[in-house]
Chain length 355, copies 2
């Protein structure tokens, strides 16, 4: 089992170190190799996704990813910026299915912005399409407008697009995931305005006919953004496109109040995947040893489950994380009175001990 | 002062009736004329925005709009669906500047999903560009893909675009609005992925140089969706494009817990405007006399202020709304124990009385 370890920028290296520690503790025959990515790779090798890093990721069975991005790289040309690494990995490895659970841990309910009764027991799974939509559509760029009200003016443009097979495969992923949960899928679109999402809605409906045991409903993205605030527990599986998924999955994560706990997986058709925390690189707290490594540790558990076929090991890690929470250990981001504040390293060690 | 009154579908007619009642009570020389719009217009005249309705709107100084949409029209061809009316009005009248306040009334703080300390005193103004972006960009449609990974497959596509003058004018609107408030603008983009929004960010930054007294910051849309949940009071004026504005303004409205209270204005360059509640047509409660007319009544106040130059009258209405809330009158959507539940009509009458 070959794992590519890509720590990245900001708090990436600190949190990935703890996840690697936890993986080692399983004493399974992993081969782990580390490579720079994002700003760190630009600094070392002149490109956010160097050929050597991409090759390592391609040859591995799974990728454990930290986070990328730092203000120091904000002035670089776009194609050299850290985010291009994650976009490049998604596209090159065909990682089209992004799983973003938004789960509220019982011990952390009070950390949510929302009233406890609205989030206690919350367990949503957002499935975001990750290699299509306006993220990659061509053409895009700047030009002088030649038609319409603004002919003669400078303009910029992008292309939103989805083809039938792209929508079909993500719909299948969503229906199959719902079968293992409460058998409900909400497909989020903007069919009332966008051709792309009328097509999306039509095809998801079509695929849904193959899953008569799963209830499907459709919701406009603006309404979904509202209903997530109003009554998040009404959702089970949400499936949506790349752009809407970017927005809604972050909104949903934040509802839990503990985004530092939330893992994610991005899978391709062969179940190879990239696993990373839902939160970002947080350059403001990098190097202080206070970041929460649990989202990354739980991402490693997802990796064991989805890409490495090690369900038992995944459950061992998840149980250990629950145990350290029950013990009252908290990093700064989830600390509250009456609990014990610990560092990134101490949290990693506590998980290993709890296993 | 000519006002076009377009009640629309669902609860539209009920709530507009109350707003018209309030306008009459001002005893100002208004000329009001009513026309069908949305599904109601399709049913009566075969089109959601009949030529006669558009003409009335064009000739008026301002438009008081209820809401459009009803499930019964869901199966119509797209160009005949109720929503096309509102898109057509925006485009035809050049209503590019959408003002969407998200304000939390002291009496209604407990109706919010969020903890009281996070929303009490909340007062955000979202300025959404309303005639550009992917809503109107061409080309769009369905076709067989000829290039890329999905050549040969059916696909659907849309074009996101903004020209320099479109971004400049909405940026000026935002900076000028901020000058009357706490002098802070947050521009929301997705410059890390989209050419359109890198251009947006560049131009908003450029325009910002003309407003050295206003602080400008930039935020990615996914982060904005999170920060609205985490700490909404950190925002003052938010300016963004049509698509992101659709999502974020609805999310922000819902944070207040009382979307039934929130008005909106959509203005063109000549300060002519369309005024409508932030909520929708709610066909599920139409005809029951329980809808909250206050958002529409407050939209009429905005109309007096922005399009009809009647600041004093606007303030009279706003003061009357505050008074009925203080009296404990509540429609069903904002009812809580210890207050008095009233009907749509009673609420309208109470506002008139309070004036
Ligand atoms: C960094 C950025 C390109 C990325 C995205 O928009 O997909 C991020 O927000 C995410 O969700 O992983
Ligand atoms: C009805 C729909 C076309 C419209 C939009 O997306 O703009 C609505 O959601 C709004 O925000 O006014």
């Amino acid at each position: 089992m070959k794992i590519a370890v890509l720590p990245g920028d900001g708090i990436g290296p600190e949190i990935v170190t703890e996840a690697v520690k936890v993986l080692h503790a399983l004493q399974l025959p992993f081969e782990m190799e580390t490579a720079p990515v994002g700003g760190a790779a630009y600094a070392a090798l002149g490109h956010p996704l160097p050929a050597s890093t991409l090759k390592l990721a391609q040859d591995a069975d799974a990728i454990l990813f930290g986070a990328v991005g730092d203000w120091k790289y904000d002035t670089l040309a776009r194609h050299l910026r850290p985010e291009q690494a994650i976009l490049g990995l998604r596209k090159n490895l065909g990682l089209f299915a992004n799983f973003r659970p938004a789960v509220c841990y019982p011990e952390l309910v009070s950390a949510s912005s929302l009233k406890p009764e609205l989030v206690s027991g919350l367990d949503i799974l957002i499935i975001r399409e990750l290699t299509g939509d306006i993220y990659f559509g061509q053409p895009r760029g700047r030009r002088i407008a030649t038609e319409g009200d603004y002919a003669g003016s400078e303009e910029a443009f992008d292309t939103m697009r989805y083809s039938r097979p792209e929508i079909e495969r993500i719909a299948h992923v969503a229906f199959q995931a719902a079968r293992k949960r409460s058998k409900r899928v909400t497909s989020v679109d903007k069919a009332n305005v966008l051709e792309t999402f009328q097509f999306w809605k039509d095809i998801v409906t079509e695929v849904g006919l193959q899953y008569p045991d799963v209830a499907l409903d459709h919701m406009y993205v603006d309404n979904a953004a509202m209903q997530l605030v109003k009554a998040p527990k009404k959702f089970d599986v949400i499936v949506t496109g790349n752009m809407f998924g970017d927005i809604l999955s972050d909104e949903a994560s934040m509802l839990t109040g503990s985004i530092g706990m939330l893992p994610s997986a991005s899978l391709n058709a062969a179940h190879k995947g990239l696993y990373e925390p839902s939160h970002g690189s947080a350059p403001d707290i990098a190097g202080q040893g206070i970041a929460n490594p649990l989202a990354t540790i739980l991402s490693a558990a997802m990796m064991l489950r989805f890409s490495l076929n090690q369900e038992a090991a995944a459950q061992r890690i998840e149980a250990a994380v629950k145990k350290v929470l029950a013990q009252g250990l908290r990093t700064a981001d989830i600390y509250s009175e009456g609990t014990t504040r610990v560092s990134t390293i101490d949290m990693g060690n506590a998980v290993v001990k709890a296993m």
